[in-house]
Amino acid sequence: MPEGTFCNRRPVNTEEDLKSLLGDKGGAQYYKEMAELEVDVEALKTSLQKTLQSRTKTWLEICAHCGMCADSCFLYRVNDRDPKQVPAYKIQSTLGEIVRKKGEVDTAFMMHAMEVAWSQCTCCNRCGMYCPHGIDMGVMFSYLRGLLFSQGFVPWELKIGSGMHRVYGAQMDVTTEDWVETCEWMAEEQQEEWPGLEIPVDKEDADTMYVLNAREPKHYPEDLAEAAILFHLAGENWTVPSEGWEQTSLTMFAGDWAGCKMQVERVYAAVDKLRPKRVVGTECGHAHRATVIEGPYWAGRPDGRTPVPFLHYVEWVSEALTTGKLKIDPEKRIKEPVTLQDSCNYVRNHGLARHTRIIMSYIAEDFHEMAPNREHNYCCGGGGGFNGIGRYRHQRNVALKTKRDQILATGCKLVVAPCHNCWDAIRDLEEEYEIGIRWSFLKPLLIGMVIVPEHLKPQEEDE
């Protein structure tokens, strides 16, 4: 059987295909088909010829096999220093083999490569910081994921994730109507407590356009309400687009580069249409990476820049606090010891550590850094799609031990985690290891401590 019904080399592009793939619970049939899926060697060869250029070739070639990357990898450390978890070994034995064999690899090999690419690397890019030659194995694993995706060797959930973006323009089945209704519903619900609060949809020429993570409207609409309240309190002239509001990109985790381009172009199209001065994204790491860091390249922008400035939520908050648009009630600052999770995607990979420290200096009285931190921090344990893949749940749970131990070492019971993936991983590690911690995004914390200007306070109730 060259290709399966569910597991094949074609991305999911229709709602019908998406629903039937979703119907294959846990991907039982999907993975059975994968074991029979033939490798299209010619296509793989062509792909290597076209896309494997000097940077990656040189990385693979000059790796001195010194093993300095071993200790930089949290997955190596947390798996009893299994030498098979050394980053250089992981990439040399997968992508390196494919390149050395010029694409002449078989199905069993590709399934093994899939397992390594999605369960032994979260593309956190930490190893690249510790390699004397500057070999970034996270970047190479991302490249490998692209090769695997194009051949159909991708975990079931991520094939679905990529399909969601292709079909709904969002990582979940949230349609434009669902989204706009959620905005109206949330605005209405907040009216009483926050008179005048709006969630303006498709307002042109606003100062700020807000984009977010489909999970928010789908599962935690209160997050959208909180964003609205904070914009309202800060006096922000803002809007959300009816289309192009989804900032995340499971296509990036899947290695679906064409899907990544479609996804980010939707967001940029909203910018073109509504002409905001700038865009603010929600508390999500990979969404920022997909839209702001990698996105311009997928969209073919030669300057590598977004069409207008794109801020991560932490940049907006740090600006609002330093300019006084949001003022914190000193009485309500966090008194207990509190620590902060640095998201790889916007801290290591976008230099925003300064902003989260500014925020902590405003909101916390007893802030404790994790060790290591900032650019050198470890992945939460669930990045790069790891959180969402059932097949690798066990490996993911082992991976969470790194963050568990980092948090325990701070002695804090509260963790600020301004990133969806990190937030999930920390929630799961509490569930798995019960260390008695709480975790939070910034929005609910801020709402609990900002000073509400007189004119925005609810009117006294009628006697």
Binding site: T51, Q53, S54, R55, K57, T58, W59, E61, I62, C63, A64, H65, C66, G67, M68, A70, D71, S72, Y76, R81, P83, K84, V86, A88, Y89, Q92, G128, M129, Y130, C131, P132, H133, G134, I135, D136, I293, E294, P296, Y297, W298, G300, P302, D303, G304, R305, R348, N349, H350, G351, L352, A353, R354, R374, E375, H376
Partner: protein, 226 residues
């Protein structure tokens, strides 16, 4: 034999070495692609180069990076070897006599005692690197015959040269062995992992530019905290 090896053969070796390495640099830079690498090299060249140069320099300072500080044994081994490997071949008095004779110019010369010390240090560094390769499971799993070949090719000119210098045994034979292994190193360098002599700078520069241009360099500054 000696005349041939330090005459025409030296020419060939040096041409292959410099020509080959130059070709590797040209090939590397030409193979960079802003779309595939997803780094806008051109529009941010000056800022990017700042990051690239910082990325290379920082790693050339002993214990200059987090990684070097976390691996003190390897850092010591690495720098013991590489300092000697760069300075001794270039500034050894004996080498410069040949340079002056054959090509009519020479470089400043290291005092003999210092050259000896650097050579011994380099050999100690190599031994440490080899021991580490055998002792650590995380290095062993990566190690191939090719890695040992590279180590041997790098060690041979130092060991033979030092034995010749000490006048132990047959001086003529050791000297010839030194010249042959030295020229072998020069000739294979562009075609093997030894091409890192230049590609180290390319690869480090590229990652430094990547971080400076795309991955936060405009927020944290061009210099990444390596």
């Amino acid at each position: 034999m000696y005349a041939f090896l330090t005459g025409p053969m030296l020419w060939v070796a040096l041409l292959v070495f410099f020509g080959g390495l130059a070709a590797r640099v040209v090939w590397y830079v030409r193979g960079l692609s802003w779309q595939l690498d997803r780094v806008a090299y051109g529009p941010h060249l000056a800022h990017g180069l700042k990051g690239g140069i910082h990325s290379a320099l920082k790693w050339m300072v002993p214990f200059g990076t987090y990684s070097w500080r976390e691996q003190p044994y390897f850092a010591v081994a690495f720098f013991l070897f590489h300092i000697g490997a760069v300075l001794v071949p270039l500034f050894l008095a004996g080498h410069n006599i040949i340079l002056a004779e054959r090509f009519g110019f020479s470089l400043p010369v290291l005092p003999m005692g210092i050259a000896d010390a650097l050579t011994v240090a380099a050999i100690i560094g190599l031994v440490m690197i080899a021991l580490r390769r055998i002792a650590l499971t995380e290095v062993r799993i990566l190690t191939t015959a090719y890695d040992w070949f590279i180590l041997a090719v790098s060690a041979a000119p130092f060991v033979t040269g030092f034995v010749a210098r000490l006048h132990v045994g047959n001086y003529e034979a050791w000297l010839l062995a030194h010249i042959i292994t030295g020229e072998l190193l020069l000739i294979v360098a562009p075609f093997t992992k030894l091409s890192h002599i230049v590609l180290f700078f390319m690869s480090r520069g590229q990652l430094g530019m990547d971080y400076a241009i795309k991955r936060g360099g405009y927020s944290r500054g061009a210099a990444f905290p390596w």
